[in-house]
Structure formats: structure tokens, C-alpha cells
Amino acid sequence: MIHFVLLISRQGKVRLTKWYSPYSQKERSKVIRELSGVILTRGPKLCNFVEWRGFKVVYRRYASLYFCMCIDADDNELEVLEIIHHFVEILDRYFGSVCELDLIFNFHKAYYILDEILIAGELQESSKKVVARVIAAQDTLVETAKEQASSLSNMIAQATK
């Protein structure tokens, strides 16, 4: 299973963290520090796997962002690389050629998308279309709720004028 997902920028800034195994806050910071030290220093042509504390960390760099996932030693590294790519493709489709800023300012969206792809550290949905549809449906829900609220407050605003 996937124990955690990390998105780290090339400068070592964390962009997203998701923990599927229980790590305390202290451990989390330590893990992030340790791994960004290991991964960011690796050259471009090297393999995408790092052995770490008996686990394996699979990472892949997209533009300025490193997507890292930590898995058990006997998990399939290539499969996880595909999961990472899957995630990136869905992000790309959702944001329209995603960039780091999209993930910074819409961090909760990135979390929601990740939640549609992974649950309990396992791949939940392997179809990009389905994920896109689910996310779109949620966005519509939020939009309608917003519209309702705004029409309501419009009414209040007008009434109080």
C-alpha cells in the first residue's frame, strides 16, 4: 500500500502531503526533511526509486514539482510510477496544463482529486474519465450552493438598503 504522498518543489517547499499510515506530526516533518534531502539531490537520469527505512519511495519530477509516494518493499514500483502519472494527468486535465501555482492556490482541490484516485493507500479509480466526472459533479454542487447563497444575500442586501 501507499503510506504517504508528498509533493515537493525543486526548492524543497512542500506542496501537498497525504498520510495513509499514522505518522505523528513530528515524524511527518522528519520524513519530509529526510526525503527531500535524498530526492532533490538525485540527478535527472537516475532511477526513480529510493530505498528508505525499509520502504521504497517512488518519485517522479514534473517540471518543478517532485511527486513522491512511499510504498512497501514488495510493492510494484512501476505500478506506482503509473499511479503518479495518472494523478498528474488528471490534475492536468482539471486545471488545464497544471502548474505549481494551481496546486498552491487550489490546494484543497488537489486534495479532493487525490482522494478520488487513492483511498486507504490503494488505487481507487483507474479511469481518468470517471474521476473527472466525479470532480465536476462536486464542483457543480458547490457552485449551485454558492449561487443559492449569493442570491439569498442579494435579497438580504437589497432588503436592507
Binding site: R15, Y111, I119, E122
Partner: protein
């Protein structure tokens, strides 16, 4: 509606902006504003964060949900990006969970998933009701986040209350596959938390395990996790289902999971492999997905390495991986897969040798590491010389990090199991000497350990050892490298201890006293000074002997005279000694002795005022001896040998000091020593542990090398011992002298006894035993025929330490496995099976009561394993065990800890007997071993 703009004011200035922007300002801008100011902060974010946090703390208490939500979202951002602890906000997240606004609800769930921690959150019970409501909601946007939270918070309390809802979600046909998939994945967490619920969930999961089921991927994922974390045996009945999926499913994600399951099942059920070979080989040939092919390869290697054709095919595929020049991932995985096989099928490695050796030069350190591991797996007795030589040269050209990895691998492989691969120790010793000259070398500790270890264990290697040590000591350049100080310490010790093998003791003395030794740390300098002492002693003794021999040459046989005198000299006349009598005479004239003494005095005089007591004490010892020599008229006026003087007596005493050989000591030697007469074993010593506390570290076990009498028995021991070290060890064992464990080489000063060492006093008291030992040493022994491989002294019991640790590694999976087995083998008879577990438990409790003594023994055995390291603590415990009878009830309480560990596996029916047998075995072994130790273990505590 309370119009509060969160970022600007918390005081409640209502705004008169247009309504739509009001909602926006409540929400997005405040978060965006925070992110923007964090990004543009000139001095870094760390200064701003506390300010934002205090703002958030204020806003989050707001009664307005939007304000609260915005604050929570900001906090979520800070927490996930800057690792800020947000456990304190758990309640606020909880407050927003029931919000009808989907955006707020969703962000509340996100915040909750970040701040609910299974161990720390006591608020979870409050969430139960809301989660249930959301789980039952027909809207997937409510139920899915609830499922995520349920999985992540993973508290058994929640699991207990919500499992029924989860079950109905999983089985209901009204919910969408999307939600059901999440429910299936979530059920894994529930099953793990409450194994008994497996009765409910497993049948449902098995139901959806069909090739066309929309829930197949989730179910396969759950089973894959269950099989790999529990006892795979329980899942064997499902093999036909998995097989069907393997044949019919076309989804690579699912196939990989199924293959993983089979990799675990096949070793348990060999008949499976016949069924699996064809479909798996088919997949390997057909599939273009590397991940699937790789999983097939791994499954073949793990699951059925005996299927020739499948392995062949897998190896073919593997070659493609290893040869993938443009993809380092494939190269890495290819090499890694080979390490699975290496033990029984070395031909795979042999066949790919070229590629592996090539990978040693890869730019990726991970690939190089794998290649190195594989190469070391190819090392056998016949090629170790070549491979090591090649690698040592290769290390010279590699980068520092990998260079040391290589050297470490060589050291480990050659040193494994008492150098079992090394036949030619002369070669190995000189290899060590060569290794340390590598400019990147940092493994000084290990080389130090091995050099001394070989010196102690392998008698035949000592000549070469001394040569290598000389080369190291004599090179002034090495003194400047602080990674080599440990090695030099070993070299100095070897030169001192085995100086009789040296061609030129004067040269070594000069090396040991060169001015640059001031660069050494004090503990190494102390070893150097002690070595100087030994060399000086050797020179004087030899000088005396040479002259006795030459004086008496006209009437008696040369050797007889010299041999009777001392241990060192006895060997110089033997064929294996590099220095003949005549050469020695040439070397050691009264002039050279004077020179030596002057040199030593000049060099060591400053050390007699050294701040380091260790150095100072030893320097003073040496100077004291020289002072004593000065008082003796050992040469006549014309610089010739004066045979009537006291020099003979002095050299005799000196010979006595260093005559006993130091040898390796069994870790179990301690147990064999009987308690000396009159030693009182006080019962209440166990209280001492309480007083001292758990972290008290007993001072003794760090000393590594046995000390019989070098420092305190000059007057008794004058005879030389010529038998091999192994025989000596045998003899020591039989006579049960006092020894300590052999973790030698831990630090430089290990070779010497400490001040106030209790062993010394024990030995001083045991003069009788000492005499007995010397008697035995004199007894004639037959010499061993020379063998190809020199004897390496070792003790069979040395591996005892590792055996017990296996007992302690017990998983808590037993319960789950039991439940799974119930479901799969006996159907769904829930109540009866849980009863069964109960009754099983109670039965086992009875077994426990009955076999309390056996557990006490097994506890005892654990004590021994630990006890080698922590003498003091275990000693007091053992003494408690020793007093049977009234203290028996204490065993019970203690043994319960272990009982938990042992019996959690005993629950697995199939393991029961084996485990029990194991315990009995341990018990009977203990019965044999424990007789002696019981009586003496408290010795070092008292002294």
C-alpha cells in the same frame, strides 16, 4: 447574516459590498491573501506564520460558519504545507462536518482527515453520529468523504459503531459502484481494527471478486493487503477465485494485485504452480506493460523457482530489463529481481555477469549498489581473491561514497561467519593493508576489529599480520588521516603482541615512537605506548637469551637454554620465526639496547605528564621499568654483556608478564564459571535494579578480551605455552576460568584491563585455579598436522544470541487470520466461531497455567540472550529465578508478557505444535546449559 470579513476584522464591521463579493471575501481572498503574503514575505514565511496562526485561532471560534470555514481552510493549508500541528482544531473541524454547504463540508472533512490522529484524538466519538448520517446519505459527495475520514482516523471505536453502515453500503445495490468501491477499500481498515468483523465483510468481498465485477479492483486490493500482512495460508481456499480473475481479467492494476497474492500462496501450495505457469508465461509474452511483466517475473522467482521453463522466460525478460540503456528504472528493477533468486539459482547471475559488472559503473548509486550486492552474492571460496582484488582496485576509481560501500561489502563478505570464505589469510591480511591506503577509506572500525580478531583467532596469519602492521606503522603519512587511527591502533597492538614475528623490532619501536604520533587521539596513543612496552620487553629478553645461548653454546645445545627461559624467545628459534638467533644477536647488541632505552625515555618523558590518565599511566609504567633497568648493572665497562647481574631476573619477570596468549572468548564462557567458595549471593540484590533504574548500564561487558594473568601473576607464570590457540581455548573452557564476552575491537583501549577491573580481583583470589591452568599448559600435546586453511578459533555457542530473537517477533495478526480462516473454511457461523476463539483462548490460558514453569524457563532464556549484553540487570533477575519456590508467582506475572507474544501465534492451529515443540526444545536446552550459570552469575555484581 453576520457579515464579517475575516482577514480584516474580527470585531464585526459589517460590510456593504455587493453580496456576491461578500461571499467571495469570506472565502477565497482570505486564503489567497494569506498564501500571497506568505509567498511574498521577504524574510521567509516563518516570521509570518505565528501571526496568521493567532488570527486563525481567533477566527475559528467565530459563530459564523463561513468565517470558521475560511479559518479552518487556512489552517489546513498551513498544516499540510508547513507541518503545523492542528490537532487543537479538531473540534472546529467537527463542528463544520454537518454543514449543508458542500464546500464547507468538504473542507471540514479535509481538515478533519489531517487533524484526527488515531492515537491522539479523543473527539472521534463525537464524530460518530455525523459520519453515520453521511454514510447513509444517498449523495456520494457526502458518503465518500465520510469513508475517507473513517479510513484515515482508523479508531476501533468508530469501526465498532459504523461497521454495519459500511456493510450495508458495500452490499446495497442502490449505491453507485464508485461509492461501493470506496466502501470495499474502507472495509480493509475496519477488518484490521476489529478482526471479528471479517465474518461480515469477507463474504461480501469474496462475492465481488468476479472478473466482471465493478468492485473487483477494490476487492483485489483488499485481499492483496490481507495476504501480504497476515498469514497467507488462511486465504488458500480462495485460490480458485483468484485463478479465475487471473485468466479472465484484462485490467493490469488488478492482475498485478492477483499476481502478488499468488506469489505468497504458491510456496504454501506447490500444486498451484502447475496451474499458474501457463497463464503467467502467457502474460509475460503478451503484455506490453512493463509493470505487469515485472510483477510476473517476481511472481515466478518468488512463487515457483522450480519451474524451469517459466524461470527461463522470466530471465529472458529480465535481460531486456537489465539491458535497457535508456531506462534506469528497468535496469535497477532488473538487478533487484535477480537478488531474489541468487541463492539457489546462481546461473542467472552468472549468465548476466557482464551486465552486472557493467552496472557497477552506472551513474546511479542505487543501481551500483544493487550490482555490488549481486557481485558479492557470486563470491565463493575459489574466486574471492580475484573478485576482491578487482573490487579493491575498482574502489580506488569510484566516488568516495561508493568506494566505501565496496570496501564495506568486501569486509562483510570476507569476515562473514568467522572468515569462512577466506582460505589464504596472508592474502586477506595484506588486502586489508591495501584497503586502508585507499584515500577515501573510512571503515577504520571494522578493519581494526578484523585485524585484531584475525590475530587472536588465526595463529598462522600472525607473521603476515605483523608485516602488514609494520608497513602501516612505519608510514608517517597515515598518521594524519583520522579515519585510520583505529587501524593504526590495531596495528600497534598487533606489533606489540606478536613482536616475536617481527624481522626488526628496533624499526617497529622507532615507528611507534615517531614524533607524529602526537597526531593520534589519546586512546590510540595509549595503545602505542603499551606496544612500546611490549617491544622493549621483547628486546631485553631476547638480548639476555641471545647471550645466554652464545655463552653456553660450547657446552649445551643452543635452543635448550633459550627455550627454557621465556615465551617470546621460545619461538624465535622455531622455523616459523623470521629472525634467527644469529641475526638477533647482530641486531641486539648492548649498544642497540642502550639506544632503545634512550629513545624510549626521550620520546615518552613528555607523556609522563600527559593530561590523559591512560597515556600518562602507561608512559609512567614504561619509564618505571627503564628506571629499574638503569639501577641494574647489565653491561660491563666495555659495553659487553654482564651475565651475573639482575638483568636475568628482570627479563624473567618481564617474560612472565607477556607470556600468556590472548585469545577469543566465547560469549557463553561466563556461564561456565562456578561460584567461588565463600562468595555470598545476596537475595535482595534484585532491589538494586530498582534503585539504579532501568537505564543503568553495567560497566563490565565492554571489555572484550580475556585477561588471565598478564598483569598480576609475574611471580607464578614463567613457562611458555606452545599449543595452538584452539587447544588453549578448549583447555580454558574445561577449567572454567573467568572470561568475558568477545565483542572485541569496540574501542582502542579494549586490549587492556581497566583500572578497578573486578575481573582482576577475582583472578587474584583464584590463584589455585591459575596454578591449575598453568599445570595444564605444561602437559604435552600433540601438534596438529598443517592444513590448507589455518585454524580459526571459534565457539559454537556464539550464535546463541540470535535464536531467541525469533521468538520475540510475533505479529498481532493471529486474531485476524483466525477470523479469516473461520470465514473461508467454516462458512459464516459467526457466533460459534467467536465462541471458538474464546474457548480456544481459555484453553490456552489453562495450558499456560500448567506450563508456567516452561514459560519461566523461556523467559529465562530470553534473559540470557539479553544478559550477554546487560549483565547486571539480568543477573539480578536470574538470581531471582534461581530462588525457586516462594518467588514462583513472580514468574507468572513476568511470563505473561511473553505469553502474549508466544500465544498470539499459538492460536494459529497449524503452528501450534511446532511452536510448542520449539519451546520445549529451548527448555531442555536450558536445562543443560543452566546448571552451571545459576550459581555464579552474580559474581561481577558483587565485586
Amino acid at each position: 447574516m453576520a457579515g464579517v470579513v475575516p482577514s480584516a476584522t474580527a470585531g464585526g464591521s459589517s460590510s456593504n459590498r455587493s453580496a456576491s463579493s461578500l461571499v467571495d471575501s469570506l472565502f477565497q481572498p482570505s486564503l489567497d491573501g494569506m498564501i500571497k503574503s506568505l509567498r511574498s514575505a521577504p524574510g521567509g514565511e516563518s516570521a509570518l506564520i505565528p501571526r496568521f496562526l493567532s488570527e486563525i485561532r481567533r477566527e475559528i471560534r467565530s459563530t459564523d460558519n463561513d468565517t470558521k470555514g475560511a479559518a479552518l481552510q487556512k489552517l489546513t493549508y498551513l498544516s499540510s504545507i508547513y507541518s503545523i500541528d492542528m490537532a487543537w482544531a479538531a473540534f472546529h473541524a467537527l463542528e463544520l462536518l454537518p454543514s449543508p454547504n458542500p464546500a464547507l463540508k468538504r473542507s471540514a472533512f479535509l481538515a478533519a482527515s489531517l487533524c484526527f490522529h488515531p492515537s491522539s484524538t479523543d473527539l472521534l466519538p463525537l464524530a460518530t453520529h455525523q459520519l453515520r448520517k453521511d454514510l447513509q446519505s444517498p449523495k456520494f459527495s457526502f458518503s465518500v468523504p465520510a469513508l475517507h475520514l473513517l479510513v484515515l482516523s482508523s479508531s476501533s471505536d468508530l469501526a465498532l459503531h459504523l461497521s454495519d453502515d459500511l456493510l450495508s453500503l458495500l452490499s446495497s445495490s442502490h449505491t453507485t459502484p464508485h461509492v461501493r468501491r470506496c466502501a470495499a477499500a474502507a472495509s480493509l481498515a475496519i477488518i484490521r481494527l476489529v478482526p471479528n468483523y471479517a465474518h461480515g465483510f469477507l463474504p461480501k468481498l469474496i462475492e465481488v471478486l468476479g472478473p466482471s465485477s465493478p468492485l473487483l479492483s477494490a476487492a483485489a486490493g483488499v485481499f492483496c493487503e490481507l495476504v501480504s500482512s497476515g498469514d497467507p495460508r488462511a486465504y488458500l481456499p480462495l485460490a480458485p477465485d483468484f485463478h479465475r480473475v487471473l485468466l479472465e481479467c484484462r485490467d493490469n492494476w488488478v492482475l498485478i494485485k492477483i499476481l502478488k497474492i499468488f506469489a505468497r500462496l504458491t510456496p504454501l501450495e506447490p500444486r498451484l504452480s502447475r496451474k499458474l505457469v501457463d497463464p503467467i508465461c502467457d502474460l509475460m509474452r503478451r503484455s506490453s506493460a512493463k509493470s505487469l511483466v515485472f510483477e510476473c517475473i517476481r511472481t515466478v522467482f518468488f512463487g515457483f523457482p522450480e519451474q524451469e521453463a517459466a524461470v527461463r522466460l522470466a530471465v529472458e525478460k529480465l535481460k531486456e530489463f537489465v539491458a535497457a540503456d535508456d531506462d534506469s528504472n528497468l535496469r535497477y528493477l532488473g538487478l533487484q529481481a535477480m537478488t531474489i533468486l541468487r541463492k539457489d539459482q546462481s546461473w542467472v547471475v552468472e549468465e548476466n555477469r557482464e551486465a552486472i559488472v557493467k552496472s557497477l559503473a552506472d551513474s546511479d548509486p542505487n543501481i551500483r549498489g544493487e550490482a555490488l550486492r549481486l557481485i558479492m552474492s557470486m563470491v565463493f571460496e575459489n574466486n574471492i581473491v580475484d573478485i576482491s582484488a578487482v573490487l579493491v582496485h575498482y574502489a580506488l576509481r569510484s566516488d568516495p561514497e561508493f568506494c566505501n560501500e565496496i570496501l564495506e561489502a568486501i569486509l562483510f563478505t570476507c569476515g562473514r561467519n568467522f572468515y569462512e570464505l577466506v582460505i589464504d589469510f596472508d592474502w586477506y591480511v595484506s588486502l586489508l593493508g591495501e584497503m586502508v591506503r585507499n584515500p577515501h577509506f573510512i571503515k577504520g572500525d571494522e578493519v581494526e576489529r578484523q585485524l585484531i580478531d584475525i590475530g587472536l583467532r588465526v595463529k598462522d596469519a600472525r607473521l603476515e599480520l605483523v608485516r602488514v602492521a609494520r608497513d602501516l606503522l612505519i608510514d608517517p603519512a597515515l598518521l594524519g588521516n583520522n579515519h585510520l587511527h583505529r587501524v593504526l591502533s590495531a596495528a600497534a597492538w598487533i606489533s606489540g603482541e606478536y613482536i616475536k614475528f617481527s624481522k626488526n623490532p628496533l624499526e617497529i619501536l622507532e615507528a611507534l615512537l615517531q614524533p607524529r604520533i602526537s597526531l593520534l587521539p589519546s586512546h590510540v596513543r595509549a595503545v602505542y605506548i603499551q606496544a612500546v612496552f611490549k617491544v622493549m620487553g621483547f628486546c631485553i629478553i631476547s638480548y639476555v637469551n641471545v647471550h645466554i645461548a652464545s655463552d653456553s653454546s660450547h657446552d649445551v645445545d643452543k635452543n635448550a637454554g633459550s627455550e627454557s627461559l621465556d615465551a617470546f624467545e621460545g619461538d624465535t628459534s622455531k622455523p616459523n620465526s623470521p629472525v634467527g638467533l644469529s641475526r638477533m644477536k647482530e641486531l641486539l647488541t648492548s649498544k642497540s639496547i642502550t639506544y632503545i632505552l634512550n629513545l624510549i625515555v626521550t620520546a615518552l618523558a613528555p607523556f609522563s605528564e600527559c593530561e590523559e590518565v591512560e597515556v600518562q599511566e602507561r608512559a609512567c609504567n614504561v619509564l618505571g621499568w627503564i628506571h629499574m633497568l638503569d639501577g641494574v648493572e647489565w653491561k660491563t665497562e666495555d659495553g659487553e654483556w654482564s651475565k651475573d647481574s639482575k638483568i636475568m631476573d628482570i627479563s624473567k619477570i618481564m617474560a612472565g608478564v607477556f607470556s600468556e596468549e590472548l585469545g577469543p572468548v566465547s560469549v557463553n564462557a561466563q556461564k561456565r564459571i562456578p561460584v567461588p567458595e565463600g562468595l555470598e549471593l545476596k537475595e535482595n540484590l534484585s532491589d538494586l535494579v530498582l534503585i539504579l533504574g532501568k537505564d543503568y548500564i553495567p560497566p563490565l561487558p565492554t571489555i572484550s578480551i580475556s585477561l588471565q594473568k598478564p598483569f598480576h601473576s609475574e611471580d607464578k607464570e614463567t613457562e611458555l605455552t606452545t599449543e595452538s590457540t584452539s587447544l588453549l581455548a578448549e583447555h580454558r573452557k574445561r577449567h572454567g576460568l573467568y572470561y568475558l564476552p568477545t565483542d572485541k575491537g569496540e574501542n582502542g583501549s579494549n586490549e587492556y584491563p581497566r583500572a578497578n577491573d573486578s575481573t582482576l580481583s577475582v583472578n587474584l583470589d583464584n590463584t589455585e585455579e591459575l596454578l591449575k591452568l598453568t599445570d595444564q599448559s605444561l602437559a604435552p600435546r600433540k601438534t596438529k598436522p598443517s592444513k590448507a586453511r589455518p585454524t580459526v578459533v571459534k565457539f559454537n555457542e556464539d550464535d546463541d544470541l540470535t535464536t531467541y530473537s525469533r521468538h520475540l517477533k510475533e505479529k498481532k495478526e493471529g486474531l485476524l487470520t483466525g477470523a479469516v480462516r473461520d470465514v473461508l473454511l467454516f462458512g459464516e457461523e459467526k457466533p460459534s466461531s467467536s465462541q471458538k476463539i474464546l474457548s480456544e483462548e481459555s484453553a490456552e490460558k489453562m495450558v499456560l497455567e500448567i506450563s508456567a514453569s516452561s514459560i519461566a524457563d523461556s523467559l529465562h532464556k530470553e534473559d540470557f540472550a539479553v544478559g550477554e549484553v546487560e549483565h547486571k540487570i539480568s543477573n539480578s533477575r536470574k538470581s531471582k529465578h534461581h530462588s525457586h519456590g516462594k518467588e514462583r508467582h513472580r514468574h507468572h506475572r513476568k511470563s505473561e508478557d511473553i505469553e502474549d507474544k508466544i500465544h498470539s501465534t499459538t492460536k494459529r492451529g497449524s503452528h501450534h505444535h511446532g511452536r510448542h515443540k520449539h519451546m520445549q526444545k529451548g527448555e531442555s536446552r536450558n536445562a543443560l546449559l543452566d546448571v552451571a550459570p545459576h550459581t555464579q552469575v552474580v559474581q561481577d555484581l558483587l565485586l
